[in-house]
Symmetry: C2
Subunit: 228 residues, 2 copies
Amino acid sequence: MSKCEQCIVKQFNSLKHLSREELKRVSACKTSKIIKKGKPLFEEGDRINGVFCIKDGVCKVSKMSENGRNQIISLIKKGDIIGERSLISDEPANLTAIALDDMEVCFIPKEEIIKDLEKNPGFTMSVLKDMANTLKKADNVIVDMAQKTVKQRLAETLIRLKDKFDVTDDGIINLQLSREDFANIVGTATESAIRLLSDFKKRGLVEFKGKEFKILDTKSLEKIAQGF
Amino acid sequence: MSKCEQCIVKQFNSLKHLSREELKRVSACKTSKIIKKGKPLFEEGDRINGVFCIKDGVCKVSKMSENGRNQIISLIKKGDIIGERSLISDEPANLTAIALDDMEVCFIPKEEIIKDLEKNPGFTMSVLKDMANTLKKADNVIVDMAQKTVKQRLAETLIRLKDKFDVTDDGIINLQLSREDFANIVGTATESAIRLLSDFKKRGLVEFKGKEFKILDTKSLEKIAQGF
DNA sequence: TAAAAAAACTGACATATATCATATTTTAGA
DNA sequence: TCTAAAATATGATATATGTCAGTTTTTTTA
């Protein structure tokens, strides 16, 4: 099994603040897992008892509403850490995480992370900063959900996806989303998402080939996102 | 000026984890302020450079959307602390806080809080827990905003307000919200909020006398919030 | 207290979006 | 490869909600 000390992925998250010693201890107690596309990392109500460090792949993090509809809260990719929240507040998971492609993740048990949080202020501060940032983004999403139209939100989503995920030379975004996933990110009915995406396609703003897609006209999408 | 060591308000927030010594230092550098109803504690883009501890009163925390409409993200009351986020991420405020009644607040400068975060793991952990909790709530709000109807959200809002704020013997909730405020919490047009509130009133679920209001039928409101 | 301004309210109407039904295409499984 | 199932697509229709316009009530201020 690979060692945390040598793992590039940690550069992208709070674990980079751990000392060599601390990393060795983490490495010794971590476990590696392969999560197949469509399978859950964890589900609402699970006691996670640790955090996941994403080595490769993408997952969608979602929650069921009382209406029985699913809402995707965020997409998590290589380098991200997930599960800190339930660990910190010592509660079962509030969200469900499902792999969008085959994933490689490392699981670090709770006790180890808690130990580091207690002993390494730099690490704690980094986790704190991370959370402050997530919270800021969440607030912005609330505003968008409450005040923007579905079309605006969909346009914005497309732009954000392009910025967040890798793009191949010919512009294809490295991400496998179903139309239902799009709908569940934006918070609309699948049919509405399909209609709007077709419309964007017709207008030459995006290109879809099955689930592969690329952004053709960012400027126009930005304008739509702003309400024009 | 009153001393933090003797202040009851700190019992309700992370400051309770500070030692007597630390509290004395905080007390020595804090400043007290009176914020008049309708006046801002801070506004989007301000560099706050510290945190506010709310000694008395309520404020609304909101953000402008690109559409030019205002969204209230949360209501902050006695005992709450606000401003930690910009402090931690060292960024200008992302939100605006405006007093809903006359407020009494203490301002603690950034350096003092940073010092405590560095030296007192219990305090840091408490701030971390607080933030994890806020984040969980934010996620739930996102789901509601995305998936519930305006009517559902308004019903839910009413219930939450009753639970969060003091209620007099005759059931009146100690909170001064305009119809526009209600609309901006729920994320709808003022007219729509007015219409739905009148409807709830007609059906005997709430009672309004000007801005004073009380919940008459929590059970029914809960059912509406769940979509019935 | 009167006048002006702001807030609350009501109605008419437009429209974005959900829902339901059905057709077509793609994917997965035997 | 064939079949069944799932995903995508499209149309018709219903409905929730936004917008605009105007009235009434409340609050502010001169």
